[in-house]
Amino acid sequence: MDERDAKIEKLEELLKNQEVSAKMLVRRDLELTRAYEKLEELGQLKSDFVSVVAHQLRTPLSVTKWSLDMLWEISKKTLTPEEVRVLLRGRESNERMIRLVDNLLNVDLHEVGKVQYSFNSISLADQAESVVEQLMPVATKRNINLVFKRDGEIPNINGDDEKLSSVIQNLIENALKYTPKGGDVNVGVAKKEEKVVVSVKDTGIGIPKAEKDQLFKKFYRGENAIKTVTEGSGLGLFIAQKIVRRHGGKIWFESEEGNGTTFYFTIPLEGIK
């Protein structure tokens, strides 16, 4: 009888413990749900904040842009070289701010997964060639030898042409920005196994080993990059990585500080829809 009582007592104790555990689980579940809701709320708040700030910034930036554009058109023939320089610097700064606001909005959209992609059969080689042509005046101005090379027949991929062009443009602009005068920037497109590989190789300042893991992080800029060019938001590569990954591809680089960098990205031939 004593043994039976002891067993019952033990069973009751176990049941009680189970009940306590179940209650704790329910409470923890509730806490986690609340924390998750709070986080979602904060995320939404951040998105709303970025969106409102960005749009509020765009209006005065448009006012400045339109005023400077009109002043330039009206007076470009009568201005002294010094006045032209001042006006053009004003326009450059304005364009830089507009790009920064665009990037801030883009980052937020990428983070909340609200970027819309439109997938079509496109030629990455044609895209890269066209971006190279578009950036040729910048390269010439900086006395950098910008070369495009298409390696054999390259099949089309399934991708968003505007977004992939912006990735190629970002990589080439970075290469031009961080390569000293007289240097080289080589852009190549090739087919490798079941992928198309785009490469942008420069003879620029390179990326310090210690910073290799940081480069694709939001707002990150290399120490030597900041010393070379003060302007830059540290958002370009972050966005580029998001776009490439959305296409099922990879983006990476090989570099040695002081000896140039090569950025690569691949897009699989059987693209994601």
């Binding site: 749009h55 448009s62 006012v63 339109w66 005023s67 009109m70 507009i98 819309q116």
Partner: protein, 125 residues
């Protein structure tokens, strides 16, 4: 015969509006303007412009609602509407096109000359 382009600009920011009006005047384009949705709808009915440049963020009625109304009304449904706004996210652009806008321009990305060029392209074909 008067072949002048006749435009309606719907913009509530006075300085941007003045700049646009100045630019259009230089190009000898006839412009009427409205600073809110209600007066835009009235002006569109009265004048039947060749095209409407429409901002999306307006006091009172939003540009999206104005666009809906313009496309509903018999007298205005065929007038090309070019959205000129700083709400340039893909979802907004998509929404405008679905509602019947002919094109969407982002103010911060478009110079006054580029806007005029677009207007001419749309009207003159």
């Amino acid at each position: 015969m008067d072949n002048k382009i006749n435009l309606l600009v719907v913009e509530d920011e006075p300085f941007l509006r003045d700049l646009l009006l100045m630019k259009f005047k230089q190009e000898e384009i006839e412009v009427k303007y409205a600073a809110d949705g209600e007066s835009a709808l009235e002006a569109a009915k009265e004048n039947t412009p060749d095209a409407i440049l429409l901002d999306l963020v307006l006091p009172g009625m939003s540009g999206f609602d104005v666009l809906d109304k313009l496309k509903e009304q018999e007298e205005t449904k065929d007038i090309p509407v070019i959205i000129l706004s700083n709400l340039g996210q893909e979802a907004d652009i998509e929404k405008c096109k679905e509602k019947g806008a002919t094109d969407v321009l982002i103010k911060a990305h478009s110079s006054p000359s580029a806007i005029i060029q677009k207007v001419r392209e749309i009207i003159e074909g």
